[in-house]
């Protein structure tokens, strides 16, 4: 993948000053996320369900944070409130001091799967964001090509998404989210549906891309290895109600490569997360049993 990040591509990335100006300079001063005293409650036919309870979280600009927890712990819900899809019932969510009220191109989203527009070619998918931002068709296309080169899919610009493998589709998804030069990248289990080999490759790709842009990343996952491998910080959540129970600093050196996965430091962090998750999962089981 390193061959992909060639010098001319880098130059091309830096060329799109108009879009960049809109987004500010990612990785320097923009992309500070602040979640304060947030509860998110859903009304269901059987009563109200507390998805997130009293969440407090600050993410510094350029930080890579993983939200880790068992399924159903509200980590996606919390991310969706940062994205602007789910309003918090109580408390507030701000990005760079501004309250989040709706989704916006400053917060790029990458979804688990099937989120590309199947009727648009790969290039049209990536060009969509810039077009919506009001740049001309030509400039949008050139932005799209730049980002497709960045994820190594320049050759597939005229293909339709359903002709690509799952891993390639997710790379297009990442290129599409980045094409708006967002200050924050929100990723909701983006590699969850991929096979193990592809997943590891994608994680390495993502870190290389992130090194280029250094924007803030919030990454939702239930995979401990993934969380430790990728992030600067792991925010561990517990299930029902979803609460933040730990905030673990990941002090592993960067750039990170696959060999890290077997190092003692990695193992120690993994064990720490594993113990927390295990305790929480057991708790959740017991609660479910009580309810059932």
């Amino acid at each position: 993948m390193s061959e992909v990040l060639m010098n001319d591509n880098r130059l091309a990335v830096l060329d799109h000053s108009r879009l960049r100006a809109k987004a500010g300079k990612p990785g320097t001063d923009r992309g500070r996320i602040s979640v304060r005293d947030v509860d998110i409650v859903f009304d269901t036919p059987t009563g109200s369900h507390i998805a997130v309870q009293n969440a407090n979280l600050t993410v510094r600009p350029g930080e890579f944070v993983c939200l880790l927890g068992p399924s159903g712990c509200g980590k996606s819900t919390l991310m969706n409130s940062i994205a602007g899809f789910v309003p918090p019932t109580r408390g507030d969510v701000t990005v760079d001091g501004e309250a989040v009220t709706e989704p916006g191109p400053d917060r790029g989203m990458v979804f688990q799967q099937h989120s590309l527009f199947p009727w648009k070619t790969v290039k049209e998918n990536v060009a969509f964001g810039p077009l919506m931002a009001g740049v001309g068709q030509n400039e949008a296309n050139s932005v799209a090509r730049t980002f497709l080169s960045l994820v190594g899919l320049a050759a597939f610009e005229n293909a339709y998404p359903n002709t690509l493998s799952g891993g390639m589709q997710q790379r297009v998804g990442i290129a599409r989210a980045l094409a708006n030069y967002p200050s924050v990248l929100l990723m909701d289990e983006p590699f969850g549906a991929l096979d193990a080999q592809t997943r590891i490759m994608m994680q390495e790709n993502l870190l290389e891309i992130w090194r280029e842009f250094h924007n803030t990343v919030v990454f939702v996952t239930h995979d401990i290895d993934e969380a430790v491998f990728l992030s600067d910080r792991i925010v561990v959540m517990s299930a029902s109600p979803g609460r933040i129970i730990a905030d673990i600093k990941v002090d592993l050196p960067r750039p990170r490569e696959q060999s890290l996965l077997t190092s003692p430091d990695f193992m120690a962090l993994k064990r720490q997360c594993l113990d927390l998750i295990r305790k929480e999962t057991l708790n959740a089981f017991q609660q479910q049993n009580k309810v059932g």
């Binding site: 917060r107 527009f117 190594g152 050759a155 293909a159 359903n162």
Partner: protein, 311 residues
């Protein structure tokens, strides 16, 4: 359902890479490693003519044979006055119908009937598509619109075209407009219902993706909702075209002069049996042809579905 046309569309080869060998290698590797689909696509693209004949050609041959068998049986039944519950005594044989058809085709009158019908169908159909898609999208997007419009559709849809004739005559100024109205109603309901169905199936992930990319409500309608509903809308357009011809026949009962429906009814009144059959087959043929044109015409809107070769 349309396998042969899909196979024909699978010809677009993957575009070549942009020069950097590193990229190319990686892509090739992943394409073969993670996606057997890419391989399959290029195989299908080079489907040789010989194999086409063996697989798809044979199927068409069978279809044509099936029709020929029916015509031969009909000829036999008519010539021998087959009468066992079903009576072929007064049914002209295909050869007789053929002779009459040749006579009609060499005159001018027959083409005028067809032209008048085509004109009516064209006007009624275009109106039905415009009104149907707009109402369908409104109903699919807004609960209010659905609650207001749906009762009318539920109530009016089961009413057959023939039943509308008296009201159409009373309500509309000219004979032409009455016929067009009846044809329009026939085409309208399938278009509306399929559009609603398509719009309601809009993927919520895609809407969220579009919103996070900065799309406005209008942009979401154009770039997400309508393209997503398109397969269903196209199905509705094709069904609508069929029903339009079907209703036209009923409408043209009130026509005083021209139209293929009028021609058929008039032949019945005048006891011209071969002409009745010519009229029926013409309506069937034109209906099929127009439906096919609608499907083919809409294919470019759906090319993203065919390209993958997934079925």
């Amino acid at each position: 359902m349309d396998n042969h046309s899909n196979a024909a569309l699978l010809t677009a080869p993957m575009e070549e890479t942009d020069g950097s060998p590193g990229v190319e290698q990686i892509i090739r590797k992943e394409a073969t490693m993670a996606s057997p689909m890419a391989e399959k696509t290029s195989d299908n693209a080079r489907l040789p003519a010989r194999i086409w004949m063996k697989t798809i050609g044979v199927r068409y041959l069978v279809r044509i044979m099936a029709l020929i068998v029916a015509v031969v049986l009909w000829e036999f039944a008519s010539r021998n006055g087959f009468h066992f519950y079903i009576n072929f005594d007064n049914i002209p044989a295909p050869s007789v119908v053929g002779t009459a058809l040749v006579a009609e085709l060499s005159g001018q009158e027959f083409y005028l009937h067809i032209l008048h019908s085509l004109e009516r169908v064209a006007i009624a159909y275009v109106l039905a598509v415009v009104v149907g898609v707009i109402l369908g999208v409104a109903m699919g997007r807004s609960r209010w619109a659905e609650d207001i419009i749906l009762p009318y559709i539920e109530l009016l849809r089961p009413i057959p075209a023939v039943a509308w004739i008296p009201l159409a005559i009373l309500m509309l100024p000219t004979e032409q407009s009455s016929i067009i109205f009846i044809t329009f109603l026939g085409a309208l309901f399938p278009v509306i219902l399929n559009t609603v169905h398509g719009v309601e199936q809009t993927s919520s992930v895609l809407v969220r993706a579009a919103r996070s990319l900065g799309a406005s409500r209008t942009a979401i309608l154009w770039h997400v909702v309508l393209p997503g509903a398109m397969p269903s809308i196209v199905a509705g357009l094709a069904i609508g075209m069929g029903v339009a011809w079907f209703s036209l026949l009923a409408g043209e009962i009130i026509s005083g002069q021209y139209g293929i429906g009028y021609y058929t009814w008039n032949s019945y009144t005048l006891i011209q049996y071969p002409q009745i059959i010519i009229g029926m087959l013409t309506i069937g043929g034109l209906g099929t042809l127009c439906t096919l044109l609608v499907r083919k015409g809409c294919n470019p809107l759906l090319k993203w579905q065919a390209k993958g070769g997934r079925s």
